[in-house]
Amino acid sequence: MESNNNLIRLEDLKKIYKVGETQVNALSGVSYNIKEGDLVAIMGPSGSGKSTLMNIIGCLDRPTEGKYFLEGEEVSTLDKNKLARIRNKKIGFVFQTFNLLARTTALENTELPLLYSSTSKKEMMEMAYESLAIVGLKGRELHKTNQLSGGEQQRVAIARSLVNNPSLLLADEPTGNLDSKTGKEIMEIFKKLNSEKKITIILVTHDSEVAQITHRRIYLKDGQIIKEEQN
């Protein structure tokens, strides 16, 4: 029975890579559900498969076996183009290394996802300005990437991830390249986005402090979920 506020349903996900002659089992059967409005941390040592899991949840990759349902729709077998559409409309990414375009303004960076959906130039600007205001960058919209501090760049990245009103936000070690004070500020933004705007957020991290703001933590080891903890 489909619970109608299950944003994500993972059924026995497996991901196998062939590296030359050897086979690598990055994920060996992950099953989990995430509800709308959840704030979840995926944790584990490197090699545990958390990046692989994030890539599949983020529709950047497809599982070798198993099923992935996003908003009730099975996306595990969709082709590249359809996955791209979903990434554009429903998912926002925040990376450890910010991944902004160089020599580009905060505004243009934020607008980037809108370039690939049919939005008028006017709408693009309005939505981008709004998004940047939410993350506290009002007034800095026309600064170029190299004129922004690390914390500000990550805020731009978050604004970009929000601009298309996605259902899901994925953050991979969002504070990994920031000092602890700035890191705390960024985590506050995530907390606010989840509590005020009810955006579902999944954080992939090995930092306990980052995981503190979440409702729940999932621990991965050797491609499987070994533990679940409520905060």
Partner: protein
């Protein structure tokens, strides 16, 4: 993503790295500039030659002694004595496609006026010389039929000789000495300017051929016959008629070779135009090779650019760019780059050909056709050489791309 937006994205991406974009386009810029400049030089030269030939008249024919295979150098057929004034008369009487004739002899001589001395070419011609050569008298008059028949010692000066001997003073009616023989100046030819840069047509004196034969050279034969056909269309007919008449005049047996040759100005003009065309194509072809090299340059730089922007491609894909969005973007960047390069190259080529015509004095002619061809060619180069890098970019895996250092 629509075309206009993609173009804007492409332009923005190109401007982000102005230096690299400029270096990439450099091959196209130089290639197109070279095509435009070289073709314009070739076209200009061709036009110049055409103008000269037009001025001379394309119904112009020359008869020279000696068969084609033994023909001497220009103006030199002097060792042959088989061409006679009677031949010229026969041609005029019997060839209805012929309008005027002018038997010719020539030599060089020392000319004296007062204390001025000048060595120049002396041409002995008939009274029809101005009509055949389309060369009018600017001052005074040309000699007439009677004066030719009488072998009068009258002379018409070329403008250069006139200037050198009389320095602006009126020469009409004055007596000059050619090889110590007194001649009365009756006219001055209009200035024609240099012909092809190697001889000055205004540096000559024209006298009746009869006078030249008797007084200056002591010969009874003539060295060539200038002939004008009735019309350009009947020139070939005229040639046939002349050859027929001369074979009879010279009693040449059927099947034997001509002991003369008839040159057709129109054929010469066409031949020159053809060889110029070949030259233009050759120059253009070489320049096109450089355009090709420019295209390969674009492809290489775009490949490098793709490699340098792997992260960027990954970012775009992560926010929803599909394969074809990436393909279009990079392809359009290549096209925009090469078309902009083409436009700059056209400007460069036009500027260069202007500069060359000012500095070297060569005439240049920029043809609209070559501009249009260059423009389209640069666009095609962009499409062809930009496709492979764009394709490679679109096939990147987003996860690998995002991880790229």
């Amino acid at each position: 993503m629509n075309i206009l937006r993609t173009i804007r994205v492409a332009l923005r991406a190109l401007f982000r790295n102005k230096m690299r974009s400029l270096l990439t386009a450099l091959g196209i810029i130089i290639g197109v500039g070279a095509v435009i400049a070289t073709v314009s030089i070739g076209q200009g030269a061709k036009r110049e030659v055409e103008k000269r030939f037009d001025a001379m008249g394309t119904n112009l024919l020359f008869v020279r002694p000696g068969s084609r295979s033994f023909r001497g150098r220009h103006g030199g057929g002097g060792t042959y004595v088989n061409l006679m004034p009677g031949d010229a008369k026969a041609i005029l009487e019997k060839c209805d496609a012929v309008q005027y004739i002018s038997p010719s002899v020539s030599t060089r001589a020392q000319v004296v006026y007062g204390n001025k001395n000048w060595n120049t070419s002396i041409y002995g011609v008939s009274d029809k010389y101005p009509d055949i050569r389309k060369w009018a008298v600017e001052d005074g008059i040309f000699f007439d039929e009677n004066q030719v028949r009488a072998g009068q010692k009258v002379a018409v000066l070329g403008s250069e000789v006139n200037e050198n001997l009389f320095e602006g003073a009126d020469s009409i009616g004055q007596i000059i000495r050619i090889k110590k023989i007194p001649f009365s100046v009756i006219g001055v030819l209009e200035e024609k300017g240099e012909s092809g840069g190697w001889f000055n047509r205004d540096d000559q004196i024209v006298i009746p051929y009869t006078t030249a034969q008797r007084r200056l050279l002591g010969i009874i034969h003539i060295q060539s016959i200038d002939i004008s056909a009735v019309s350009m269309e009947r020139t070939t007919e005229a040639v046939e008629q002349i050859e027929e008449v001369l074979r009879i005049q010279h009693k040449i047996a059927p099947g034997a070779e001509d002991d003369f040759n008839v040159s057709n100005m129109a054929e010469i003009a066409e031949g020159a135009a053809e060889s110029r065309d070949v030259l233009i194509f050759l120059l253009g072809g070489i320049a096109c090779v450089s355009l090709l090299v420019g295209g390969i340059g674009i492809m290489n730089i775009m490949l490098v650019s793709v490699t340098e922007r792997i992260r960027e491609i990954g970012i775009r894909m992560s926010v929803g760019a599909r394969e074809k969005d990436i393909l279009f973007q990079f392809l359009l960047e290549a096209i925009v780059l090469s078309v902009l390069g083409g436009v700059l190259g056209i400007l460069l080529g036009v500027g260069a050909s202007r500069l060359i015509s000012i500095i070297a004095g060569w005439q240049t002619l920029v043809s609209n056709f070559s501009v249009v061809v260059a423009f389209f060619f640069s666009g095609i180069v962009g499409i062809v050489f930009g496709f492979f890098p764009a394709f490679k970019a679109s096939k990147l895996d987003p996860i690998d791309a995002l991880r790229y250092e």
